[in-house]
Symmetry: C2
Subunit: 151 residues, 2 copies
DNA sequence: TATATACATTTGTACCTACAAATTTTGTAA
DNA sequence: TTACAAAATTTGTAGGTACAAATGTATATA
């Protein structure tokens, strides 16, 4: 659906405005489908992202700030996201012995199992949602998106 | 910056995953700059969107549901957004006399003045943020984003 | 008319983001 | 050593989103 129809605009929009609106619409479109998958597992999108980061550590603990740096949303509140994951026993939290200001986070077996269950569903979602585009188009889209952030 | 570097990924990502991550990153990037502009005016991005919709009505009132339909975020809570705008006297709210279930919203002069002040700043932002891309690339990006939502 | 049903909006709750201030721990300089 | 500044995290507060339930109004139908 064209972006003018999505917002029921009566006037013509500049191409800059269209791209920016389309970016938001498409991101929401993708995000909504993503949340549908996570819903039965009772974790949010950002909680999932944190779990992914923790799994990527392969057993090595990671502190709050380093988690924050790797997140999609930079101002997300890692403390409170971790709190939610702790309640579900999906992560473990320990004070770093070398520097007691730091907190070290580890993913638990429960967290790993949840991700393992999700893996095929997420991959399916990712492939499905991009299936309208050829590989060349996906590469193109990827480059154009990265180019916008080059400032 | 490449998306793998943004999230400091150590493993290669599928092109589908990269596109989806890039979509979120780029949307946040654009949105953050947008919020910086709005900040001195003490209105949020969604409040701005509502004001834009109301101005587009050119004096014709619009009800809650129709506002909702035109918003970027479909599950946003229009009642509470309008409440905030009412406090700033940027909108007016009246029960529809023909159908008392409906609520009619109008933008006030204060709302219009705020938008008029913002117009050049927003346009500047939109043109600046897309200035890395040629017009052809912007059209391409626009088409690719719309194509993803074709399902 | 009474009652059920649909419609339009509001309210409640849980989670998330943005940003500033507070807290705890560490490092450093007089 | 004491005082001060920096670092790492937590807490507080004001928006927002997502979704379900509640409220009030209109409409249909027996």
């Amino acid at each position: 659906m064209k972006i003018e129809d999505e917002i029921k605009s009566t006037v013509a929009l500049s191409i800059a405005k269209k791209v920016i609106l389309n970016l938001a619409f498409t991101k929401n479109y993708v995000g909504d489908k993503f949340n549908e998958i996570l819903k039965p597992f009772e974790i949010s999108g950002e909680q999932y992202n944190v779990l992914r980061i923790l799994r990527g550590q392969k057993g090595k603990p990671i502190n709050m700030q380093d988690i924050q740096d790797r997140m999609v949303t930079k101002n997300s509140n890692t403390t409170r996201l971790i709190d939610k994951l702790l309640l579900k026993k999906m992560v473990e939290r320990n004070v770093c012995p070398e520097n007691r200001r730091k907190i070290e986070i580890l993913i638990t077996q429960i967290g790993l199992n949840t991700l393992a269950e999700l893996d095929p569903l997420i991959e399916n979602h990712e492939n499905g949602i991009t299936s309208n585009l050829t590989n060349t188009e996906l590469e193109q889209l990827n480059n154009l998106l990265e180019k916008i952030r080059e400032n």
